[in-house]
């Protein structure tokens, strides 16, 4: 079973349907034990960094992610659900994140923001998430991002400057883009992630 963590964050319905195309059972839940015991946990997220982090803490999501890492269970952060895994976010003030990686989430230096639409990525050669979809485009919607590498395998994209599009680090992975909104390529990435469970 795959759990999508519900902590007050936007459109979870299409994420659920996208993960269900794998044939797995997918539950939207805010229950700690259910999320802890799921084979795979998806941490979605839209909106501002601080609001998302507060929502995550309200369901003890920060502790949940750490405990899953300790238990070697796969977790995937998406968009702001990726951003809040870092140590800090500079969006309307300086806010603390979960701190899985030490980086800071900063505003992109680009003429047009948000970075909204389909962009390609420069895939880390050892990536498993991007197997077979190395040259595809993915759907991004964000103004903030991490600008240096993190975890084992970093995959970058570019909008005004290079930024981190995905991280793969043992049992924890994250994408700045929305795989559930990235058409066939996104569904393949979801399939690739699920095959690691």
């Amino acid at each position: 079973m795959i759990a999508i963590l519900d902590y007050g964050s936007g459109n979870l319905r299409s994420a659920q349907r996208a993960f269900e195309t794998s044939g797995r059972e997918v539950l939207i839940t805010s229950d700690y034990e259910t999320a802890l015991n799921a084979e795979g946990l998806v941490v979605p997220g839209v909106g501002a960094f601080a609001a998302c982090m507060n929502g995550l803490i309200a369901v003890r999501g920060d502790q949940l992610v750490r405990e899953r890492i300790a238990l070697k269970r796969q977790t995937l952060g998406i968009c702001v659900g990726m951003q809040i895994l870092f140590a800090h976010g500079i969006e309307h003030g300086n806010h603390k994140g979960v701190g899985i990686w030490k980086n800071t989430v900063e505003k992109l230096d680009a003429p047009i923001l948000p970075h909204m639409g389909w962009n390609t990525v420069s895939v880390h050669p050892s990536s498993k998430l991007f197997t077979g979809i190395e040259n595809e485009s993915f759907y991004f919607v964000h103004s903030f991002a991490v600008k240096d590498s993190a975890g084992e395998f970093s995959t970058f994209s570019h909008h005004g400057e290079d930024f981190l599009a995905a991280v793969e680090d043992g049992v924890i992975s994250a994408t700045q883009f929305h795989p559930e909104k990235s058409g066939e390529a996104g569904l393949q990435l979801i399939e690739n992630w699920i095959s690691t469970l």
Binding site: N11, R13, R17, P114, G117, Y139, S157, G183
Partner: protein, 257 residues
């Protein structure tokens, strides 16, 4: 790595059916919105937009159902506009499966609505839809309401700047002069709005020839919305993308959708 330009088919929906008006009168039924959304997804649309033109509460309920069914089978971003007046309206649409909402008249009547929506859900969910036409205002462009029939008494560029200040994530600029004519996007208007805004700009109204699409991008649009040329098969999305690619614009491969 370059951000691709986006091609966005727009489906005008009333009571669960797709329609497209020529200058917003003379409506022609063009099909089932969920099937058309799935078809456009397969054809390489980068996003989809539903504009709910239902007049009744029952019609709006039907649209929520259309959004739900679309989000279940089409895995590209979906924007829904039409009749959105409150933060609660936005919440209902996002929960049904919309990724973004576009607001128009309600924001003209009460601009604070922009900040209320942006504060609660983030700017990225909010598209300001502006129906503008050429007029003797300061910039030469004015905002209209009622499908272009009435002046809002508001200069279009002043409104763009205010909407950006209040926190919109994107601008949908619809030329009421060009809408439905297939005579080309209003290039002067796109250029003028681009010059005063730093959020993504979607050009709308007037798409006809393939050259129209590249001309709008040359003027500074980030995305191109079109309805009748796609609905009536004048161009397929792949044809537009091929044309843009030939003109050195980055497009997402149609085969991935």
């Amino acid at each position: 790595m370059t951000l691709s330009v986006r091609i966005i088919p727009c489906l005008d929906v009333t009571d669960g059916r797709v329609v497209k008006g020529v200058n917003f009168t003379n409506l022609v039924d063009a099909g089932d919105p969920v099937e058309m959304a799935a078809l456009y997804g397969r054809e390489g649309a980068d996003e989809l937009t539903f504009l709910d033109i239902s007049a009744s509460v029952a019609g709006r309920e039907t649209t929520l159902d259309v959004v739900r069914r679309t989000a279940e089978q089409v895995f590209i971003p979906l924007t829904v506009g039409g009749g959105i007046r409150t933060v609660e309206d936005v919440d209902r649409l996002l929960r049904a499966g919309a990724d973004k909402v576009s607001i128009n008249t309600a924001a003209i009547a009460r601009p604070e609505l922009i900040a209320e929506i942006a504060d609660r859900f983030g700017s990225q969910v909010l598209v300001i839809s502006i129906d503008a036409r050429r007029a003797r205002t300061e910039s030469g462009f004015e905002v209209t309401t009622h499908g272009g029939r009435e002046s809002a008494g508001l200069d279009a560029l002043t409104w763009v700047e205010k909407a950006c200040e209040l926190g919109v994530g994107e601008i949908l600029l619809n030329s009421m002069d060009a809408d439905g004519t297939r005579a080309g996007y209003d290039i002067g208007m796109i250029t003028a709005v681009r010059a005063v805004s730093k959020v993504p700009l979607i050009a709308s109204g007037g798409a006809g020839a393939l050259e129209d699409f590249s001309a709008a991008l040359d003027a500074g649009a980030d995305a191109l919305l079109a309805a009748s040329v796609f609905h009536f098969g004048v161009h397929r999305i792949g044809d537009v993308k091929k044309h843009l690619s030939k003109n050195n614009y980055s497009v997402r491969n149609a085969h991935t959708a």
